[in-house]
């Protein structure tokens, strides 16, 4: 019977893996890779995950000609909507990989304890980050903290959001101590202690644990981070993993050996007339708000010009078509739409896609979160100082003193949306946490209506959360659908 015993020459197996330090690092790399979506496809990341996270917010309107997340944007999506499913699937892919590392690495003999600790700490950080996607998007999700291969154990129940938050805090607290303060050289881009602290601070913020948030974010401020001198450098690739970067999703223009880990943002946001796809635009509300973000001369601030392409004599944008910047006034006649986003629109590659990283948490966000915690802790004046650091770097005049509640509104509907517009996973989840918190001043629906969000009239409470994906409920009957869906 030797004839029907064929040696495996195709594929790595469990018995040949988990042997060396390289294997552990490969497993960790794979855990990071889920940041690009479970399939690793740049399209799944941008057209599914990014749009699903962004389209419900008031800062953008989608190009209605494109179906991607279109029904999320008009609050008419069904439980089958693919964007939330991709978020779900990618998050759990990352969690599953982290769980594999936490199961296997402790038993590996080839690694020093120090290496093991760092790798496992990063796995915990990533697991916490993926749960962050889940708990803020779906709230009611299963908590999976071990890697299961027995089919009978693959059908978990949901737990309360509090249990997920607790797991996030535990993972980040454990991770923070063991993570490196910085990765350099070939491993630049891996998560660091600062990232864990900042994410933990953000998690406290989401739970309105203002005092812990202030403390934890202050620890980040005490580290070696600094705002970039030039706001735009955060989006043009010139300062990747630089002083303002706390944690970024890494992309690269490297095409050797069939690799394609590029991002497509510039292609997605550029006007048709410049050769782009114009998948979405800034909302009129955001443009109006930005027009109030002025420099000392009374013109829009640098950060406004770096963020949007709009009807303004100083506005210009890179055109792939002519490989140069074009002034709005020259392009207006060919444009399909009056206003465009331009963050990440800088071209670096032949096919429009490029290797510019996408920020998850940058130091400006840490400062604004810190300011928010300070303000909620009654330290409004200190908060304004932190906010002004951010404003001044962006070329905007500093804020004068104001009341706690005015500053709260200023943070919510000016500082954060103007500074962080369109950035990955920010605006909608800010709206979500403010609505969910005790400091809520209005419902999301009111915000959306006040800010002229198209189809805001369709918004119901159920739209605050994504539906549990039908694709998943079809498979796991232990799952309950979110209320209203």
């Amino acid at each position: 019977d030797d004839f029907i015993e064929v040696e495996n020459r195709e594929v790595l197996t469990e018995s040949s893996f988990w042997q060396t330090e390289d294997h552990a690092l490969q497993a960790l790399t794979a855990t990071y890779a889920a940041l690009h979506s479970s399939s690793g496809s740049k399209w799944a990341f941008f057209e599914e995950i990014y749009t699903a996270m962004a389209y419900k917010a008031d800062e953008m309107v989608n190009n209605t000609a494109e179906t991607y997340s279109r029904s999320l944007a008009s609050f008419t999506n069904t439980t089958e909507e693919s964007g939330p499913f991709n978020i779900w699937r990618s998050a759990y892919a990352g969690i599953g990989r982290a769980n594999q590392i936490l199961l296997q690495v402790p038993n590996m003999e080839a690694l020093s304890q120090e290496s093991k600790d760092v790798i496992m700490a990063e796995a915990k950080f990533l697991r916490a980050y993926y749960y962050f996607w889940l708990v803020t998007g779906f709230e009611n999700v299963p908590l999976v903290t071990s890697y299961e291969v027995d089919p009978d154990n693959l059908f978990p129940n949901q737990v309360t959001p509090a249990e997920i938050w607790a797991q996030i805090e535990t993972d980040l607290t454990e991770a923070e101590g063991a993570m490196l303060v910085e990765h350099s050289g070939e491993w630049l881009g891996r998560a660091t202690q600062g990232a864990a602290k900042a994410l933990l601070g953000k998690a406290y913020l989401f739970q309105e644990k203002w005092a812990q948030a202030e403390t934890k974010l202050a620890e980040v401020l005490a580290m070696d981070y600094a705002l970039l001198e030039n706001y735009e450098d955060n989006f043009n690739g010139s300062a990747e993993n630089g002083s303002e970067s706390v944690f970024e999703i890494q992309f690269t223009g490297d095409r050797s050996n069939g690799n394609d880990e590029r991002q497509v943002f510039n292609f997605e946001v550029s006007p048709y007339a410049f050769g782009g796809w114009e998948l979405f635009y800034p909302s009129q509300w955001l443009v109006d708000e930005m027009r109030t973000d002025l420099n000392t001369e009374g013109d829009p601030s640098d950060r406004v010009y770096a963020s949007i392409f709009f009807d303004d004599p100083g506005s210009e944008m890179y055109s792939r078509d002519i490989d140069d910047n074009v002034a709005y006034t020259d392009a207006a006649g060919d444009l399909n739409h009056p206003k465009y986003f331009k963050k990440y629109s800088f071209n670096e590659d032949t096919n429009f896609y490029n290797g510019t990283n996408i920020s998850i948490i940058r130091f400006a966000d840490v400062l604004l979160m810190y300011a928010e915690a300070l303000n909620e802790n009654g330290k409004t004046d200190e908060a304004i100082i932190e906010i002004n650091k951010v404003r001044e770097r962006g070329g905007a005049v500093p804020l004068a003193a104001m009341s706690q509640s005015d500053l709260r509104t200023q943070i919510r509907h000016h500082e954060r949306p103007v500074e962080l517009s369109m950035e990955f996973g920010i605006r909608w989840f800010d709206l979500y946490r403010w609505q969910r918190g005790s400091t809520a001043t209005e419902s999301i629906k009111t915000t959306l209506e006040d800010h002229g969000k198209p189809f805001a009239e369709n918004f119901q409470d159920k739209h605050i959360l994504y539906p549990i994906p039908l694709q998943e409920i079809n498979i796991n009957e232990n799952l309950d659908q979110n209320p209203g869906w």
């Binding site: 195709e10 790595l12 040949s16 690793g40």
Partner: protein
């Protein structure tokens, strides 16, 4: 089937002459495929035979020639007639009471039958034969005696003597041909013995359908055989299903060519001698593994004894298609789109109002063109009794109705037969080589997430864009930037993309007669497939989204080696009324696959085509896999008195694809048949054949990947790799981790099939029917079981996680009639099947598929309790005429008058996924084929109709082209609903489609039933007297038209397309259309 002894074969005698037996054989050999095997001294003493000028039938000539003695005939599968002189059994015995009876035996036309046998039933040792004039005389023991008259190829007749002294008998020809044989696993059977559901294909009929592809020509020819054409692209492979869907895994039948598993698509149809379709388990068990989806057995032509015989077949054809999808031209486009923007309250795109400055191009017209097809075949065969040869060579070419989709094939085959040791050892080697060259386009026929059809790309290209530009370097126009990027005709034309596949088949069989009835057979076969794919893109710039800044090249070579080794012992013996055949065998198969590919995204110049000329980013890739099978099998057939038939088979298969504990699967079958018409009690003038059949058997399936039972670690690739390091182009780091669950317990999938059938013949089998009903149950179905994403695993593990029931029926009928100048035959078949999933996955999960675009618009769902791949859609029930109707309906917040109304099926006041309904599937209720052929004097005519009924098609093309938010759209939208056109059934044109009218709904689901004249052929054979002294034996010219008309309600391109997949069957994503063609051809025999 041709293998049988066809008594209809006519032999032309050009003058009155007297011939020796061997000269008669020569005459027959020259004009037919038959050859003769006999001891060389057998006819040394034989008398010469007088033959008259004119035509005679082969059996008459033979009977006449051999009437001087008693011979036993044995027909070998390759058409040779083995002649053995019988010991004189027929003796005249003296009996106490003697009565002499005399008479004449004739056929129905009154022609005497020389050499007919006349026996006394009560004592078969007594008998005689008719003389040259059909006269006989025999002494019978008494008036109660019964005389039995028999003659090869005629039905036997019995006459009670009574008080007669002269008995003249007219024998009827047996239309079926008693000795007709059929291919079965590892051999042949007499058709009369067959108890399983086996169909033989009428090769002469299918060879009338001019095509390069055997599978295509099988469409509609055999009940229970479904050939679905996935795409009309030249060289594309159709999908063959036997008895519908037996599993949700791999449903491809096993194809056995000259005894060796192989690839049907590489065979030149002209080389085929015979095809059998094994439909039920009892027929297929002998092939055990892989046979659960049925078996297609093919034999290729072999040489005949005689002088070299040359056959030439040649045709040329023009092809076109007319049923284009009607897309808007420029002014229509502007009108529709302005209305759409207006209805959405949005400002129109600037280009819509700039009209005349733009082109008005016909993109579809530039993409398609009439195709030219030609096929030329030459065959040379002949040989001596001890060495026969058959050589053929063929060339086929189709230029494609779409630019850059040409296909050509060169094929050659040599089959040899050696008879050694006085016929006791036969060695039969065969070798064939095929090269196929396919240009072409990628088409989204795969399951799962749909890629985008190039046809949709063409349909939706703006007519405003110019196609050609004589000033540009490559001749194609770059669109102005406001119209967006892309020139799909240019991109297709400039893309140098070729697939060159070499396929070498070699097999040799050696059969040794050990002693009487016992044969040992050794067979070795190898299939070697080498493919080479190259994809070159030159530099071009059709706008920023359609730039290829550098010439780039990607190449892939694959090499597949498969070999099969069979050793069988076959024992066949008759003991009086008992016929027994025993087959025992072992076989080994090995399949090795390797591939190597590379690419470079920048070559130094557009003129270069070698990867070494690359100066950009390069990559390499390749795979290596091996699988093996080891099998033991046996079959016992027993037949009592040509009335009762029983057959049993067993097979034990071991596969490398399972872990050591699960390697082997055991399969068995039993089948029974009863020839009621041979019973003495059965005496019907009308019914000439009545044979009920029953069979039950089990089969295995292991059509899965290799080494799936191991705990695999995914490594590398986009999914797991991630970049780290400094800069915008930091290096990509390889990631690796388990991305699939270990499934160590996977084992053989098993299908158990029960078949009940009956064969019925009427009017001396002029009219024949065959009916089969089957049920099959597949258990431990190998399926990729959906598991929750919370597992962290995104690839579904393959487990024995499903059960499926499949039921169906098949009915076929044929009728032949002939007289002197006019003969015709009609045959028809119809079959249907239904399936039901009875278990799926770990917790009865559901599958979603039939995506219209990437990850979006799923249209089918497969779940327990229903059929595979049912359409699962919203029900659209009309168009809102007023706002009041919208408000009253209440569940479509963004709808306005003119939008589609969708049914809130569960009445919960919300329109959501729970409101989707199952709406049939792409599997027809039944499908059918009708062949009609007729001969009148030198003219022949054949018609072939084919169709399906009861299948649905989701018209994804229409859905796509009813969107006003993409680029170009269907011209139908000119007639969209508007307040002034409220009668329209097309929803209003509105940019952004706020009501989501294009959601997967019944609005785009159409009835896919069709009835088609697939083939119409008229031929003329030149008469002998006209051919005169030309060195040509036979010349026939013909004209054929294919796909001449189709009756269907389907509004898309072609209801026969896109029916390929298991889960996406009937989802039309825009495929290469089928052509109509007009063909002129000739057949020539030298």
């Amino acid at each position: 089937t041709k293998i049988g002894f066809s008594q209809d074969k006519k032999i032309v005698v050009d003058r009155d002459q007297e011939l020796s037996v061997e000269q008669v054989f020569d005459l027959i050999r020259q004009q037919t495929d038959y050859s003769f095997i006999y001891r060389s001294d057998l006819f040394s003493e034989a008398p010469r035979v007088k033959v008259k000028k004119g035509e005679t039938r082969i059996n008459r000539l033979l009977q006449k020639t051999l009437s001087f003695a008693d011979f036993e005939y044995e027909l070998s599968p390759d058409g040779a007639i083995l002649l053995i002189k019988k010991e004189k059994q027929v003796k005249r015995k003296k009996e106490k009471v003697q009565q002499e009876i005399t008479g004449t035996v004739t056929d129905t036309n009154g022609t005497p039958l020389p050499g007919a046998s006349v026996l006394i039933k009560e004592n078969t040792t007594v008998g005689t034969q008719t003389d040259f004039d059909g006269n006989y005389s025999i002494m019978v023991p008494g008036f109660e005696s019964t005389l039995v008259f028999s003659y090869l190829g005629f039905t036997t007749k019995e006459v009670v003597v009574g008080d007669q002294t002269t008995i003249n008998v007219t024998l009827d020809e047996d239309a079926q041909g008693l000795e007709e044989v059929i291919l079965v696993g590892f051999g042949t059977q007499r058709k009369a013995e067959v108890t399983a559901a086996i169909s033989s294909v009428d090769i002469e009929e299918i060879q009338k359908i001019p095509t390069a592809d055997v599978a295509t020509s099988l469409q509609g020819q055999v009940a229970g055989l479904n050939v679905a054409i996935a795409t009309g692209a030249p060289g594309s492979e159709p999908i063959i299903r036997i008895r519908g869907l037996g599993t949700i895994g791999n449903n491809n039948p096993l194809v056995v060519i000259d005894g060796i598993p192989g690839e049907l698509s590489y065979i030149n149809p002209s080389d085929i001698e015979d095809i059998s379709i094994l439909r039920d388990a009892s027929a297929a068990t002998i092939y055990g593994s892989r046979a659960s989806n049925g078996v297609v057995i093919v034999t290729t032509k072999r040489g005949r004894t005689g002088d070299p015989r040359v056959t030439i077949g040649s045709y040329a054809s023009t092809q076109w298609f007319s049923n284009g999808v009607d897309v808007a031209n420029r002014s229509q486009h502007d009108q529709i789109k302005l209305e759409a923007f207006n209805n959405a309250g949005e400002a129109p795109a600037p280009y819509l109002t700039s009209g005349a400055q733009y082109a008005d191009s016909d993109w579809v017209g530039a993409y398609i063109d009439n195709a030219f097809e030609q096929k030329h075949d030459i065959g040379i065969s002949g040989g001596t009794e001890n060495m026969k040869y058959s050589f053929s060579a063929g060339y086929f070419e189709n230029t494609g109705t779409v630019v850059n989709t040409d296909f050509n094939r060169l094929s050659t085959r040599l089959n040899l037969d050696f008879n050694l040791l006085e016929g006791r050892l036969k060695i039969a080697p065969g070798v064939s080589y095929t090269r196929e060259t396919t240009g072409g386009i990628f088409e989204p026929t795969e399951e799962g997430n749909a890629s985008f059809s190039p046809f949709l790309q063409i349909y939706q290209t703006l007519p405003h864009k110019a196609i050609f530009d004589s000033n540009s370097l490559n001749g194609f126009a770059t669109p102005p930037s406001e119209l967006g990027s892309g020139n799909p005709v240019g991109e297709t034309q400039l893309n140098d993309r070729t697939d060159e596949d070499d396929y070498l088949q070699f097999n040799v069989a050696a059969t040794l007669k050990l002693f009487d009835g016992l044969d040992y057979r050794f067979q070795y076969g190898a299939n070697i497939e080498n493919t080479h794919f190259a994809n070159f893109l030159p530099t071009y710039n059709f706008g920023p989204q359609a730039v290829n800044e550098n010439p780039s090249l990607s190449e892939l070579r694959t090499r597949s080696n498969e070999w099969t080794l069979n050793n069988t012992l076959n024992y066949r013996k008759s003991f009086g009324k008992h016929d027994i055949e025993v087959l025992l065998g072992i076989s080994r198969e090995k399949s090795e696959f390797r591939s190597a590919g590379g690419s470079n995204n920048e070559l130094a110049s557009d003129q270069l085509r070698g990867l070494s000329a690359g100066i950009g980013d390069e990559s390499s890739f390749g795979f290596n896999s091996t699988s093996t099978l080891q099998s033991y099998f046996g079959r016992l057939s027993y037949d009592l008195d040509d009335k009762y038939y029983i057959q049993g088979s067993v097979r034990r298969d071991g596969s490398s694809r399972f872990a050591s504990t699960n390697k082997y699967g055991n399969f068995y079958s039993i089948s029974l048949g009863w020839a009621v018409h041979n019973e003495s009690f059965f005496n019907s003038e009308l019914i000439s054949q009545l044979k009920p059949r029953f069979s039950y058997g089990t089969l295995g399936n292991q059509l899965i990947g290799d080494h799936l039972f191991l705990a695999r670690i995914g490594s590398g690739g986009q999914q797991l790799n991630y970049p780290f390091g400094a800069g915008q182009s930091q290096p990509v780091i390889v990631g690796a981790i388990a991305t699939s669950l270990p499934t160590p317990d996977i084992q053989w999938e098993e299908t158990a099939t029960t078949n009940i059938g009956v064969d019925l013949g009427l009017l001396q089998n002029q009219l024949k029917f065959s009916f089969d009903y089957f049920t099959s149950e597949t258990t431990d179905m190998l399926v990729n079981v959906p598991i929750p994403a919370t597992s962290g695993i995104t690839s579904f593990p393959l487990t024995n996680g499903g059960n499926l029931e499949n039921k169906g029926w098949e009915f076929s009928a044929s009728y032949n009639n002939s007289n002197n100048d006019f003969s015709y035959s009609v045959s028809a078949n119809i079959s249907g099947s239904t399936n039901e999933v009875t278990k799926l996955g770990i917790a009865d999960e559901a599958f979603t598929d039939g995506f219209i675009e990437f990850n979006n618009f799923p249209t089918t769902r497969t779940e327990v309790g229903g059929e595979i791949g049912r359409f699962y859609l919203f029900e659209a029930d009309g168009i809102f005429q007023t706002q009041a109707e919208v408000d009253a309906h209440g569940v479509q917040p963004n709808a306005a008058p003119g939008d589609l109304r969708f049914v809130d099926t569960n009445g919960d006041g919300a329109l959501d996924d729970d409101d989707k309904q199952f709406m049939g599937s792409g599997l027809p209720d039944f499908e059918y084929g009708i062949n009609f052929s007729a001969n009148y004097k030198n003219f022949d005519l054949s018609l072939f109709f084919q169709g399906t009924h009861g299948n649905n098609i989701y018209n994804g093309v229409r859905m796509w082209l009813y969107r006003t938010d993409r680029q170009n759209m269907s011209a139908d939208l000119l007639n969209a609903w508007s307040p002034s056109n409220t009668g329209s059934n097309i929803p209003r044109n509105v940019f952004g489609d706020p009501n989501n009218n294009i959601r997967p709904s019944s609005y785009f689901l159409e009835d896919g039933s069709y009835f088609r004249l697939r083939n119409l052929q008229v031929g003329y054979t030149f008469p002998q007297n006209i051919m005169g002294n030309l060195p040509v034996d036979n010349l026939r010219l013909y004209v054929t038209a294919t796909n001449l008309f189709t009756i269907t309600d389907y509004s898309g391109f072609d209801p026969a397309l896109g029916n390929g997949g298991t889960f996406n069957r009937g989802v039309d994503r825009g495929f290469y259309p089928l052509s109509k063609s007009l063909i002129l051809g000739l057949n020539l025999t030298l």
